[in-house]
């Protein structure tokens, strides 16, 4: 895999919801800063200046009632405006944002996607992300992957966010605000990246021991490239011809791997772990914990509990050295 060049998470991608939010944050922080300085200055003045009864009432009414009322009124309107803008950008109507705020039944409310909007299910799990692409160009087959999301540049993609265990929060700081993933509920987020690039996301709701090691990558790429990628992800794999890779394939089935993992096109249909059909193409292993190459793959298979203690993947304890190497090579070859 080539070198990853990630923009800072503090840098909001242009034209994204994150940019509006970052602007809002800036205004609020600067405003608060100015008010703080003025209040401190007044406090110092009150402490050190000669007492004079003149204008006391004006100060109390002006500074204590009129100013806060006015400021808060303006700010509220401003934030609501930004909120509407973000919501409009992300999901079409400001009303939906309000509905979200009041927790109105999301399952029923989610309409079919507007034509041209792609739907992707992202399911938070301890401690990784399952990503399911619903529609591949009219075809109903699904492409399932993990810890990685690809978007066509400049197009809105509708994410349906949920979880199968505890509360997680989907957050790609450069692209959008946080949206919680709540058991029994599906939340929605429209994600749009206006520039091609690779962005890092992170679970933003404490979800257990390895919460910190629950990251994901979002890749935005030109439409054509994206489609090639998606078609590839939807494909199944076949038994390898190469003897060494075949040894790896057999090692996979010698172990308990298929109990939890699916590799489409093989008898492995386990559901509780990430789909490994194209694991070799991913940027990372173990939800953003490790770079993905044959060495980290072997290390992760043999020592998953050392790397991410408590995660659902056990240390493999049955492979010989050569089997482990072959297994890592086979998985790495699934691109």
């Amino acid at each position: 895999m080539s070198e990853m060049r990630l923009p800072s998470a503090l840098h909001a991608a242009p034209g994204s919801g994150a940019e509006l939010l970052s602007e809002l944050g800036l205004v609020l922080y600067c405003g608060a800063g100015i008010i703080f300085i003025v209040v401190v200055a007044l406090a110092l003045h009150a402490t050190f200046a000669k007492p004079s009864p003149a204008g006391t009432r004006a100060w109390i009414v002006g500074g204590g009632i009129v100013f806060p009322l006015l400021t808060l009124f303006l700010l509220l309107n401003y934030t609501l405006a930004v909120g509407s803008a973000v919501a409009a950008l992300e999901s079409g109507t400001a009303l939906q944002l309000l509905l979200d705020c009041f927790g109105i039944d999301a399952q029923k409310r989610i309409p079919p996607p507007s034509p041209g909007t792609m739907r992707v299910h992202v399911i938070g799990k301890q401690w990784w992300w399952e990503v399911r692409y619903e529609i591949v160009r009219g075809d109903t087959s699904t492409a399932v992957l993990a810890n990685e999301l690809h978007l066509p540049v400049g197009e809105p993609v509708e994410l349906l966010l949920t979880t199968t265990d505890v509360i997680h929060s989907f957050w790609v700081p450069s692209l959008a605000g946080k949206v919680d993933m709540i058991p029994g509920r599906t939340n929605r987020l429209i994600l749009r990246a206006n520039t091609p690039g690779l962005y890092r996301g992170q679970c933003a709701e404490y979800c257990g021991g390895q919460h910190a090691l629950m990251a994901l990558y979002v890749k935005s790429q030109p439409r054509r490239e994206f489609e090639t990628w998606l078609q590839r992800q939807a494909r199944s794999v076949t038994r390898p011809d190469d003897a060494f890779l075949l040894a790896g394939y057999e090692a996979f089935f010698k172990g308990t791997c298929p109990d939890c993992h699916t590799v489409r096109g093989t008898p492995a249909t386990g559901k509780s772990g990430p789909d490994l059909t194209h694991v070799g193409s991913r940027y990372s292993l173990a939800a953003g914990t490790l770079r993905n190459h044959v060495g980290t793959m072997a290390g992760w298979i043999a020592g998953a509990q050392d790397i991410k203690p408590g995660n659902a993947m056990p240390d493999s304890e049955i492979y010989t050295g050569r089997e482990l190497r072959a297994l890592a090579a086979w998985l790495g070859s699934l691109e």
């Binding site: 050392d306 240390d315 493999s316 304890e317 049955i318 010989t320 050295g321 050569r322």
Partner: protein
């Protein structure tokens, strides 16, 4: 009468100061000799006579104290002598010699020199001989034999030793020839099975610590084989097999078979000993 009270007090103080001074002087001179490298560790430099006498007496007293609970069995049972000879010619004669037989050249250059057992056997009771043979003697070339000679044959060896002083050159030669077909038996079981303390003895008795670092075993900081510290957390044996008891035993007993070309030699480790070693290494977490 204040002086009378004062005087003994001053005397006691003087004695204490003198003693302290002596101790300080001793420690200082010891440190100087050690740090300057003046003490010779060469095997060609002999001990002072007094040093030798003190060490010899110390050995005798220590063996006497340690062997006081040892009870010798009947040493004249049939067949015992022959097996004793077999063990002696396999393991002992190389360093100790025998009537009319010199120790091998390497053994002649040792300091301390291996004792001539014809004299030791005259002066020491069988229990002492047994104890020293079984446990060895620290800081001499005498190894412990309890891992290599089984209990019966240890006593058989002692039985032979008690007869050593009265053998002529010709008699010894004949006994040794007759015992040529007999082998000295190695122990099959382990005393103190499952004891972590005894497992450390086993490691040391197979010289594991000359190449590996092992939890709880004092030795050189060896970097020849991999460190075995925190072994239970390791995933592979020799980088090749999954790290479990069965594979560990397999590798310890026959490294070449598990990993062709491995520089770890075959140490003739018994199954029982290998199991104790494997359990010790894998059970570190249970400490």
């Amino acid at each position: 009468m204040p002086q009378l009270v004062h005087k003994p007090k001053r005397k006691a103080l003087l004695i204490a100061a003198g003693a302290l001074g002596l101790v300080a002087f001793g420690a200082l001179s010891g440190a100087i000799i050690l740090l300057s490298g003046a003490y010779s560790t060469a095997a060609t430099t002999q001990h002072f006579k007094v040093t030798h006498q003190v060490l010899d007496a110390g050995l005798r007293l220590s063996v006497r104290a340690s062997a006081r609970h040892v009870r010798a069995p009947d040493l004249d049972r049939p067949g015992m002598l022959a097996r004793g000879v077999a063990c002696f010619r396999t393991h002992c004669v190389q360093c100790h010699g025998a009537p009319g037989v010199a120790p091998i050249p390497a053994a002649r250059g040792m300091l301390p020199i291996a004792s001539n057992l014809t004299q030791t056997a005259r002066e020491w009771p069988p229990e002492w001989l047994y104890y020293v043979t079984r446990k060895g003697v620290r800081m001499t070339g005498m190894p412990a034999w309890e891992m290599r000679i089984d209990e019966d044959d240890l006593w058989a060896t002692v039985s032979f030793l008690t007869r050593l002083p009265v053998l002529t050159r010709e008699q010894y030669r004949r006994l040794a020839t007759r015992a040529e077909d007999l082998t000295c038996r190695t122990p099959t079981g382990v005393p103190f099975e499952g004891s972590r303390e005894y497992a450390k003895v086993i490691f040391r008795q197979y010289a594991c610590h000359s190449c590996h670092r092992i939890e709880g075993v004092v030795g050189p900081r060896a970097h020849i084989g991999p460190s075995l510290l925190e072994w239970s957390r390791r995933k592979f044996v020799a980088g090749v097999l999954p790290n479990d008891e069965r594979n560990l035993i397999r590798f310890i007993r026959d490294p070449e078979r598990v990993k062709p070309g491995s520089l770890m030699p075959r140490l003739e480790v018994t199954e029982a000993h290998a199991r104790e070693m494997a359990r010790y290494l894998l059970d570190e977490g249970a400490r």
